[in-house]
Amino acid sequence: MKITIYTPESSVRSPRKLIKDMFTDLSHSHELAWRLSVRDINAQYRQSKLGILWAFIMPLATTVTWIFLNMSGIISVKSTDIPYPLYVFSGTLIWSIFMDSLLAPLNQTNAAKSMLSKINFPREAIILSAFYQLLFNSGIKMLMLVIAVIIMGFSAGWMLLLFPFALLILILTGISIGLFLTPIGMLYNDIGRAISLGMQFVMYVSPVVFPIPISGWVRIPFMYNPITPLIMIARQCLTGYSGNFLPGFVIVSFSMLIVLFFSWMIYRITMPVIIERMSA
């Protein structure tokens, strides 16, 4: 019979057991995570007439805004190697996928608060469910992008097959960073606000609506921004070559995996402390 023991001691003190438990729980949480994502996706669309269309309306609106700004001459964007509308459209869609991923761990954990404080289920299920939902939502956006580039005749050809992989790395990076901030974000809602605000600035030093400047000091934050290679590679898979970002992409991917693992560990260890403060 399974024996569970609870003591005040931190589980970090027996790391081997901790890591084993993490993976056991992860493998046990697939079923629940699947169910939770089906639930959330169903609920999301059942009370909506436009349904899935909402996934496009936001990026489309942003695209139209930027095209207008560019055409009216209020803002002049240096020429991009693909038509500007396509640049902005792909940029905003890819960016929205990243933002969703970044905020998903905190939002999902917050939404599951009452369940977390009352029922003992593998906590990994919350994050896994967030991941499944992101795959679903991003899948729709991805399809839309692929169709758009093919119609406009700027498709990268066989490279399109790598596009899902590039997006996957983007999603996982978002989740890793978001997950890292979740424990503190659960205690203080300043974190959530700070992310939303901060990311507005980060967007302008990412190749989302502006191309990377060729010279000048503004180029520096663009080049050191870890999201830049992810977006560039994703867009490259979509529309073809646009600079050598592969090394950056590989470095970010590997660092992301390490961050993801430790964020997961922290999330797991600190969850009882957080729940205690929430229900206290």
């Binding site: 609870y6 005040p8 009452s114 009352k118 729940i275």
Partner: protein
């Protein structure tokens, strides 16, 4: 079948009174959890902290039920959460053997927009069922919940009782070794509560049960052992459940209830005597089961009343009216009375079991053949009955027994 399934040793848990401080401590705790250093704060209270649970130890074997009772905020739910592994103890050690099922919240994972049927799957998944298991049990869940007609209606249109039904129906499919139940049967109609109890009785054969409740009849029905919690500490712990319930009741102040009336008559005084004892000289009158008791009552009729009648009603601590006196008019005839009168009612033998009881006095008048309430004073006086034996029911009869050998 009597192995120990739950073993709790010296469990303590502290909470913080103030939210801002609590969050700050939370941040610090996250830090020390991650470094894994022995937290030097575990056994001392920091500023603005208190012990929500202090030094609780117990064991529960298969087939036993431990009841946790106490006033709101006594630490019952906190203790359950620690046992369920949702929060960590600050001191002590817990061993749980086998599968744990918790009925702390029914219907966890329900989404109001989705239908009852869909939510069965959601709830079941949260409780750890696989999809196949749920599919198999789906029909029995729907049958148990008795809401077949509304099973494809969104849950947001359900009444709270219906949600509880559906939640319990799913939870009842668990086959745990340890079951933790927290106050979940409070909603739901009588028929359903009984159904739940039958289910729990069934489960009890094979589980170690921990039951948190404010309903003493439920506690006395199911528990084999009892812990009375007060400010986080166990103030009583024993397998004499009835005694524990009496102790729990003593923690509530005895309040005289409301008075309603027309003002045509009023009670000037009421007191109780039993042998040498007189409630006027005592803070509370205590008598033995089987003792005599006299109720002394002085009533002033402010206006002339046609044909008034005094009624005495006995209430137990659950505010159940379990007995009354209905022979006033057979003994005393009052005709057009005014002014003060003293009445006594003598009970030769008090048959109540252990506990505290109150008397409610009512006066009715019959004018022109219609009955009219003149006043009613709820729980105007209390007395305590002691007994060597404990029994849960308010009335404890002691008939004469005879035995005959038929051969």
């Amino acid at each position: 079948m009597s192995e120990t399934l739950i073993k709790a040793e010296n469990i303590s848990k502290k909470f913080c009174l103030d939210l801002k401080t609590s969050l700050w401590y939370g941040l610090k705790d996250i830090g020390s959890e991650m470094i894994g250093k022995k937290n030097q704060f575990h056994d001392v209270l920091r500023e603005k902290e208190f012990w929500a649970v202090k030094d609780i130890s117990f064991e529960v074997k298969r087939g036993e039920c431990l009841g946790l009772i106490g006033r709101n905020g006594a630490g019952k739910s906190t203790l359950l959460k620690i046992l369920n592994g949702i929060i960590k103890p600050d001191e002590g050690r817990i061993e749980m053997h086998g599968r744990v099922g918790a009925l702390i919240e029914l219907g966890a994972g329900f989404n109001p927009i989705l239908t009852g049927r869909e939510n069965i799957f959601n709830n079941a998944a949260v409780l750890g069922f696989t999809k196949e298991e749920t599919q198999q049990k789906l029909q029995s869940i729907i049958d148990f919940s008795e809401i077949t007609d509304f099973i494809d209606t969104p849950v947001q249109n359900y009444s709270s009782g219906m949600k509880v039904r559906l939640g319990f129906a799913v939870a009842a499919q668990m086959e745990p070794d340890i079951l933790l139940i927290d106050e979940v049967l409070a909603v739901g109609d009588m028929g359903f509560v009984l159904k739940c109890f039958n289910k729990m009785d069934q489960l009890l054969n094979n589980t170690a049960l921990i039951f948190v409740s404010h309903s003493m009849p439920q506690v006395s029905r199911i528990c084999t052992e009892l812990i009375v919690l007060g400010k986080g500490e166990a103030i009583y712990q024993s397998n004499e459940v009835s005694k524990g319930i009496s102790i729990y009741y003593e923690k509530f102040p005895q309040l005289a209830g409301n008075v309603t009336g027309t003002g045509q008559a009023e009670i000037k005084s009421i007191y109780l005597t039993s042998g040498e004892k007189d409630s006027r000289n005592l803070t509370s009158l205590e008598i033995e089961h089987g003792d005599e008791l006299t109720v002394h009552l002085n009533i002033k009729f402010n206006e002339e009343l046609q044909s008034p009648s005094v009624g005495l009603m006995f209430y137990d601590k659950e505010q159940r009216n379990f007995g009354e006196v209905f022979n006033f008019k057979d003994e005393i005839v009052l005709d057009k009375v005014k002014g003060s009168y003293s009445f006594t009612a003598h009970f030769k033998e008090i048959q109540m079991g252990q506990g505290v009881f109150s008397i409610t006095v009512g006066l009715t008048d019959f004018t022109g053949g219609t009955r009219k309430s003149i006043f009613r004073m709820q729980s105007v006086i209390y007395f305590r009955v002691t007994s060597a034996k404990h029994g849960w029911a308010p009335m404890q009869f002691t008939p004469e027994w005879k035995i005959e050998n038929e051969q």
